[in-house]
């Protein structure tokens, strides 16, 4: 089985949020980056399928040079090689909408003849939740989203899909297919020392965003991000200060006499 896993490097969950001078994104100075959570689960599923059935796992990532660190991490965990769609700076990819980015990804993998393309179900930063689905449409492949488990069948795959309110469903798809993976179903592996050593010699093919865009029939974005803002508070929060004991006593008083819940 040849499996491509699309991975995005995103700001760490507890990164400090300060809006940058452009007013369109956060200031990335001092921000640490990590592999997007659901992408890490997509990688884990791919590695488990390879262990069970053989084949190759190819990592695909679009981002500036710094994304190379996350790509190496995926290689250290066991992916075989990688394609890095490299942007010249922090803003080049922001000029593309989700369709534009998916076109770059599609152009980068169209000659790979993969059996499966996996992606996390959404990114922790932009949260658009659709890159994998758009990629499926661009490549003319069937897709399924919110997948927790993948089993190989004779003609394709059988997958477990999460529905709302605690419901689930099995689906069968012919391959090649695109699946977006939900977080949490398996335990993520750590890279071994040997894996980290091996990763240094694995192939990372770097293609520039500009070169790929030229061949990917890019169009003017149809959706643009104009500005980012800190959210308005939906309720007025009364912050109860002091020592833990003081704050706890104040809260109990509120719950007793204002909320009347105790």
């Amino acid at each position: 089985m040849k499996i491509i896993v699309a991975i995005k490097q995103v700001p760490e969950r507890d990164a400090r949020i300060r809006i940058d001078a452009s007013g369109k994104w956060i200031d990335l100075q001092d921000v640490e980056f990590a592999m997007n959570e659901s992408d890490a689960y997509a990688l884990e599923e791919a590695l488990q399928l390879k262990e069970a059935h053989g084949g190759e796992v190819v990592v695909l990532s679009a981002g500036p040079e710094r994304a190379g660190k996350t790509i190496r991490e995926a290689l250290a965990k066991g992916a075989d090689r990688a394609i890095h769609i490299q942007s010249s700076d922090e803003t080049e990819l922001a000029k593309f909408d989700a369709l534009g980015v998916a076109r770059l990804l599609a152009a980068a993998v169209k000659d790979e003849q993969a059996d499966l393309i996996l992606a996390g179900l959404q990114s922790d930063d932009l949260g658009l939740g659709q890159t994998g689905v758009i990629l499926a449409e661009l490549l003319g492949l069937p897709h399924a989203t919110l997948i927790l488990k993948i089993e190989k069948t004779e003609t394709g795959v059988k997958v477990l899909r999460e529905l709302e309110d605690g419901w689930f469903q099995h689906l069968e798809l012919p391959t090649p297919a695109v699946l977006t993976i939900q977080s949490g179903n398996s335990k993520l592996r750590y890279a071994t020392l040997m894996g980290i050593k091996k990763a240094k010699t694995k192939e990372v093919k770097v293609v520039s965003v500009a070169d790929l865009a030229a061949s990917a029939q890019s169009q003017t974005p149809v959706v643009t991000l104009d500005a980012v803002k800190l959210p308005h508070k939906q309720r007025t929060t009364q912050i109860l200060g002091g020592t833990p004991a003081e704050a706890a006593a104040a809260l109990v008083e509120k719950l007793q006499f204002e909320v009347r819940a105790i």
Binding site: L128, V222, L225, P244, A247
Partner: protein
């Protein structure tokens, strides 16, 4: 004539609440752009739910019906919706942001060389231009988006972001729409939906919920929140990572993939408040948040907050509750 087209989703012969909210969002957009509003729904034209739809004052209700749509598939819904959109050429297409919509609407938008503006929490129309607000970075940031060019815009609306409309009187026509589908177009073969385990905990019957998130760090630390729940006479709930890790059963999970709750008091311990969690609990009467990060989005919906280390605050709170109860 161009219109705003709102897709409703049905479950067990009921239009889902989030669909009515999407309809309300559609009305905001249609009113702002001075356009009529039409509805599309996959159903049999004789389905009794259509009587309910009539009360919402759309112009037309397009009832999409085909045997190949009886079980949901991304291929079937994409093809059928695309045919309807091709026929009526709306200015804007609005969906509720459900798991099903997330599955096929991005594919549908791509078919029109468009991008779904997903999980919209606000719409502001000024002149002829609409600004769509959505959240970034797990709810820590809001962003203004707009649709460029003269193509159709596609939106999905987050649960709880708009208040479902009161029924209004108005003329409605029901228009059956029979898409042209071939069985060979449906590549995905769906199985019957099932529930993993019987629900034995009904979080909705508890008046106080103590809900625990990633901040608890380890399973071994759970007793401190269990003691607080016991002291309060509360039921224990959790955010997704806790249930994924197997520390608490799935049936205690609150959020889009778990239960939606609205207790008298919802006490969130070490929960940052990602969108997926907030949609499951923001209807609670009183929300209390205990978190070490004062910028955590949970504080945006909280009535009372304690910024601090939960390992110090929670035991202090348990002691204070016991003292108050004598």
């Amino acid at each position: 004539m161009s219109s705003v087209l709102v897709f409703l989703e049905t479950k067990n012969n009921e239009v889902s609440r989030i669909s009515w909210e999407a309809l309300a969002a559609g009305h905001v957009l249609a009113h702002g752009l001075s356009l009529p509003l039409d509805i599309a729904v996959v159903a049999s034209p004789s389905n009794p739910i259509l009587q309910k739809v009539q009360g919402k004052a759309p112009r037309k209700v397009y009832v999409i019906d085909d045997a190949l749509l009886h079980a949901y598939t991304s291929d079937g819904y994409t093809a059928a919706s695309a045919q309807l959109i091709d026929q009526i050429k709306p200015v804007s297409v609005v969906f509720p942001h459900t798991y099903q919509v997330r599955d096929f609407a991005p594919r549908l938008a791509t078919r029109f060389n468009q991008v779904l503006i997903s999980d919209v929490t606000g719409i502001e129309v000024s002149g002829n231009s609409a600004t769509f607000i959505r959240q970034l970075l797990q709810g820590k940031l809001n962003a203004d988006y707009h649709h460029a060019g003269d193509g159709i815009s596609f939106l999905s609306i987050q649960a709880g972001a708009f208040r479902a409309d009161e029924p209004q009187a108005g003329e409605t026509t029901i228009e059956p729409f029979q898409p042209k589908l071939e069985a060979s177009q449906i590549r995905v073969q769906p199985g019957e939906p099932f529930r993993a385990s019987a629900q034995t905990v009904d979080l909705n019957s508890a008046s106080i919920l103590v809900s625990v998130g990633r901040g608890i760090k380890e399973e071994a630390n759970l007793p401190i929140v269990q003691e607080l729940a016991a002291a309060l006479g509360a039921e224990l709930a959790a955010s997704r990572p806790i249930c994924d890790a197997g520390w608490l059963p799935m049936e205690r999970q609150v959020g889009s993939s778990g239960q939606t709750v609205a207790p008298k008091v919802y006490l969130a311990v070490g929960i940052s408040g990602a969108i997926q969690h907030l949609v499951g609990m923001k209807g609670s009467q009183c929300i209390v948040a205990i978190n070490k990060d004062e910028n955590a989005p949970i504080f945006e919906v909280a009535d009372y907050g304690i910024v601090g280390d939960l390992f110090e605050v929670v035991p202090a709170l348990t002691a204070a509750v016991r003292k108050a109860k004598g």
